[in-house]
């Protein structure tokens, strides 16, 4: 086919496309894992460790095993193979082997006919342990400890990963800087709080196969881990992803209960369901790491940024999870959206005896970008320049390379700045609102898909999409991409319908099923739109070309003169001459029956060759500039967000409804982390493992949100698109913090900014005799 010129407007893409599962979801007909019932299904229950750190001496399961109705009692030795999401840090086991490492570690599991029987069996299990010293403060674990949590800790410490990077000459830059600022941030851990609890159903059948349905956002990693731990080849395991009730990163690791459920099914020969209650979901965690960071910034008199010097100590909890990536990201995701000529970072992620931390929306970027953006607000004040002007002066140019060799292609960051400034009437408001009211600017930068896939063989594509069309004209789309509510199924269908020129109702996205879905490595790192989108486009273009060839045979016009119309193939510039979609399809099918096409995407080679060079590389980056308008009651410390202007560059918008939805949801989550969400611990014990005590924002706490979508086409994104799933969270927090400063003149360094903390800051300022805007 000849390359057709790129139209600037599309039939479907760019509009407001309602989610294709919407009718099923609003009627309660969408099937989630907990809705699955299998004949003879058993209830699987888990015994969790009440000890933060202990050596297991014995587990006596004899009484539990003897109980009527109990089919299986499982302990760690049966499936001791370690696993983990990153191939380089396999430090988890399905059930504890030898040691328990946090309150919540799975020690034993039971499959029984019903829940009361399973509970009685758990209560009958006797576990004897030697209690070990517990380590809850990551700073303690930086030094050599008596009893390291993992043997792999660095030199007898609890350090899981240390990253040291230096580009340029930071000390020289600070020596010649006209201005320096420093900011220290202290961030509580937060968790995903998806509404659907973690749940898995597994069934082993006499044909030697195992089927697993699970609430997962990365079916492929689950598939791989099941194979590794259970010792079954992957082709004998079938992983199915029903609808998933939210993930936000919390369903991206292969999780122990998933493997335990499958093991119970193998042991009993019966279907088994393991449904975690809400407390267990909190204990499984894998949420955002509690973090302490310090940012020093050097700048020239004219506001040019000269250097960043960053340190971070990151509380990893009991396991590695994504932690090696987290440790890199807490430094390198400070690399945009500004040009930083000199950069130094030291990050350490430390194991503690707490629930594991992992990937959560805007993974690795949220806390460091908070500290950088607040530090820039300090810098602007010190320099006496407007925060917008400071950022505009330092914006990374399009088609440039950062000092650590990130490849920047498209950026509409400057457009974000001007849209946010204009729409928020910044110039009329900044430092001009009455005491107690303020506006603040925060900016974001995030990867549009990791360029460094977690994969068996990195040379394989990151994603593949298959299309199948038979004579009925319906297009079945197969892909292991995981829609967890973000709308990727809808985008997949819309891309196919757009390219092939058919009605959206002709396209059906087949539920993820490893027996038929070609591999896509799942919903994380904001990769799906960019990568799956490109693969879908390629598969659809191949199908379109076959249809055009069929139409050419029917009409006698050469393929070069034909193009797709709506539900037809037509002659270019003569749309009155056309072959219907079905006529073209049926002719194209004469040779080999149903049409089958495939499209794949792998990210291009990018980045340097130094150790860790690939961390943070991406085929494209998103950018954002948010202004928050807040009110602070200086008598109570209560903070009310009034409005957020969210200017975001996700390249070309493909589904406006979904992009707005991602921005609004991201702001909700960012607002939660800023205002009040916190995993509260007493020692190693999580104090608030419920949605009552871990409070996510409610409807009346949400500010008005104005989405300003200003991105220009990305050269490599599908139809010019980039990510919008995680990046939109990042700017929320610093925009709020800087707005609080504008309102009452205090810097929020400890998150969450609860009313008591804010009130203390306001009082301290007043006591020191300083006034702010007359307050």
């Amino acid at each position: 086919m000849t390359v057709s010129e790129r139209p600037t407007e599309y039939r479907l893409l760019g509009g407001r496309i309602p989610y294709i599962e919407g009718p099923l979801k609003v009627s309660g007909r969408a099937e989630y894992t907990d809705d699955i019932k299998r004949p003879g299904m058993l209830v699987g229950r888990l015994l969790r460790s009440p000890w933060p750190h202990a050596r297991i001496r014995s587990i006596d399961v004899a009484k539990a095993r003897a109980m009527p109705g109990v089919f299986c009692v499982l302990t760690g030795e049966k499936y001791p193979t370690p696993f983990g999401v990153l191939p380089i840090t396999h430090d988890e086991t399905a059930l504890a082997v030898g040691k328990t490492r946090y309150i919540g570690d799975i020690v034993a599991a039971v499959a029984a006919t019903d829940e009361p029987t399973a509970e009685r069996a758990l209560a009958a299990i006797d576990v004897e342990v030697d209690v070990l010293p517990e380590y809850n403060d990551p700073k303690v674990g930086l030094e050599k400890v008596l009893e390291p949590i993992h043997a792999r800790g660095l030199n007898g410490t609890n350090i899981q990963k240390e990253v040291v990077q230096h580009f340029g000459d930071v000390d020289a830059a600070f020596a010649q800087a006209a201005v320096q600022v420093r900011f220290r941030g202290n961030f509580a851990g937060v968790t995903h709080a998806f509404t659907e609890p973690l749940v898995t159903v597994a069934e082993a059948t006499p044909d030697g196969r195992l089927t697993v349905w699970s609430a997962t956002q990365v079916p492929h990693y689950l598939h791989r881990s099941l194979s590794e731990v259970l010792g079954l080849p992957m082709h004998r395991i079938r992983v199915i992803k029903p609808e998933v009730g939210g993930g936000f990163g919390g369903k991206s690791d292969p999780l122990p209960h998933e493997i335990v459920c499958a093991a119970l099914a193998l042991e009993t020969g019966r279907p088994v369901k393991v449904l975690l209650d809400r407390e267990d979901v909190f204990l499984t965690n894998h949420g955002r790491h509690p973090t302490q960071n310090e940012v020093r910034i050097a700048a020239a008199e004219d506001g040019r940024l000269l250097a960043y010097d960053i340190e971070a100590v990151i509380d990893g909890g009991a396991w590695s999870s994504f932690g090696t990536v987290t440790t890199y990201y807490n430094g390198v995701l400070a690399m945009g959206p500004y040009r930083i000529p000199n950069f130094r970072y030291r990050g350490r992620r430390v194991y503690t005896n707490k629930p594991p931390s992992g990937a959560m929306r805007a993974h690795g970027g949220t806390n460091i970008r908070y500290s950088v953006e607040v530090a820039l607000d300090l810098l602007a004040e010190k320099l006496g320049v407007d925060p917008f002007d400071l950022r505009d002066r330092n914006a990374l140019p399009a088609h440039s390379t950062t000092v650590n060799q990130f490849r920047i292609t498209s950026t509409s960051f400057r457009q974000c700045l001007s849209a946010a400034r204009e729409r928020s009437e910044w110039n009329a408001r900044f430092r001009k609102l009455p005491y107690g009211e303020g506006v603040g600017l925060g900016c974001g930068f995030y990867i549009s898909g990791s360029n460094s896939p977690i994969h068996f063989t990195p040379k394989m594509p990151q994603t593949t999409v298959h299309l199948k069309v038979d004579m009925d004209g319906g297009i079945a789309v197969h892909s292991m991409q995981a829609d967890i509510g973000q709308g990727s199924n809808t985008l997949l269908a819309a891309i196919v319908a757009e390219v092939v020129g058919v009605d959206l109702s002709r396209v059906h996205v087949v539920r993820v099923d490893s027996d038929v879905s070609p591999i896509d490595i799942g919903s994380y790192s904001s990769r799906v739109t960019f990568m799956m989108g490109n693969a879908a486009r390629r598969a659809a273009e191949e199908l379109r070309d076959q249809l055009i060839a069929g139409a050419s045979q029917v009409s006698g016009y050469p393929v070069e003169q034909l193009e797709v119309g709506f539900e037809r193939i037509q002659v270019r510039h003569r749309p009155d001459i056309a072959v219907s979609y079905l006529d073209a399809l049926h002719r194209a099918m004469e040779k080999g029956g149903a049409l089958l096409t495939s499209g794949a995407y792998n990210s291009p080679p990018i980045g340097g060759t130094f150790k860790g060079a690939r961390a943070g590389t991406a085929p494209a980056y998103s950018f954002g500039a948010y202004v928050a308008h807040v009110r602070v009651d200086p008598e109570t410390g209560v903070l009310t967000p009034i409005k957020i202007w969210a200017a975001f560059d996700c390249g070309r918008v493909l589904n406006r409804l979904a992009v707005e939805g991602q921005i609004e949801g991201s702001i909700h989550m960012g607002l939660g982390q800023f205002l009040g969400e916190s995993m509260n611990y007493r020692g190693s014990r999580l104090l608030n493992p419920s949605l009552l005590e871990y409070k996510i924002p409610m409807p009346e706490q949400m500010p008005e949100i104005e989405c300003l979508l200003v991105g220009e086409d990305d050269p490599e994104g599908p139809f010019g698109a980039k990510e919008a799933g995680e990046g939109p969270l990042i700017a929320t927090l610093p925009a709020l913090a800087n707005a609080v400063y504008d309102a009452v003149g205090v810097r929020c360094s400890t998150l969450p900014v609860t009313p008591d903390r804010l009130l203390r800051l306001i009082d301290e300022r007043a006591e020191s005799g300083l006034t702010w805007k007359g307050g």
Partner: protein, 157 residues
């Protein structure tokens, strides 16, 4: 000890065996296979399990089945027409008020109960009505918009 239990469920008389300690959510999901009602927390904190009992939006995970005996229970299945969608459901689809969809049945049930009682609620009244329902995906923006739209639509319940 299982004893017979009877109620009107989605307009039809239903009788089933039910132990005294049975929770309504379990009875609906496990015994009657009405899986549209979702189990999010079992603690009355998320609103995913909301059903209507005698006109009132009620958390089925905090309700003993015995307390609903002889009453009229409406679940999301009962609010869905045999063909198509009701105006609240249609507005949720059109506005993109569902993302992962797990909280959606609870929101739709709550909204239908609100509109049945108060056909023209203010935005504040809508926010208050759904303040017992948590959504982690949408930031509520499009949910509130959808309910406002449904309230304006002539066929809303």
């Amino acid at each position: 000890m299982s004893k017979p239990w009877s109620a009107r469920v989605n307009g039809h008389p239903v009788t089933t065996a039910c132990p005294d300690e049975r929770i309504l959510l379990d009875l609906l999901r496990e015994d009657l296979n009405l899986t549209g009602t979702k189990r999010g927390c079992d603690l009355g904190t998320c609103g995913c399990c909301t059903v209507v009992i005698d006109g009132r939006a009620t958390l089925s995970c905090l309700t003993l089945a015995r307390l609903a005996e002889g009453r009229s229970i409406t679940t999301i299945e009962g609010l869905t027409p045999s063909t198509g969608l009701n105006p609240v459901q249609q507005a949720f689809v059109d506005h993109g008020a569902t993302q992962c969809g797990f909280c959606t049945p609870g929101f739709v049930v709550t909204a239908c109960a609100l509109l049945a009682e108060k056909p023209h609620p203010t935005r504040k009244e809508i926010e208050l009505a759904v303040s017992g329902n948590l959504c982690r995906c949408t930031g509520y923006t499009k949910i509130i918009e959808a309910i406002e739209t449904a309230a304006r639509s002539p066929g809303s319940r």
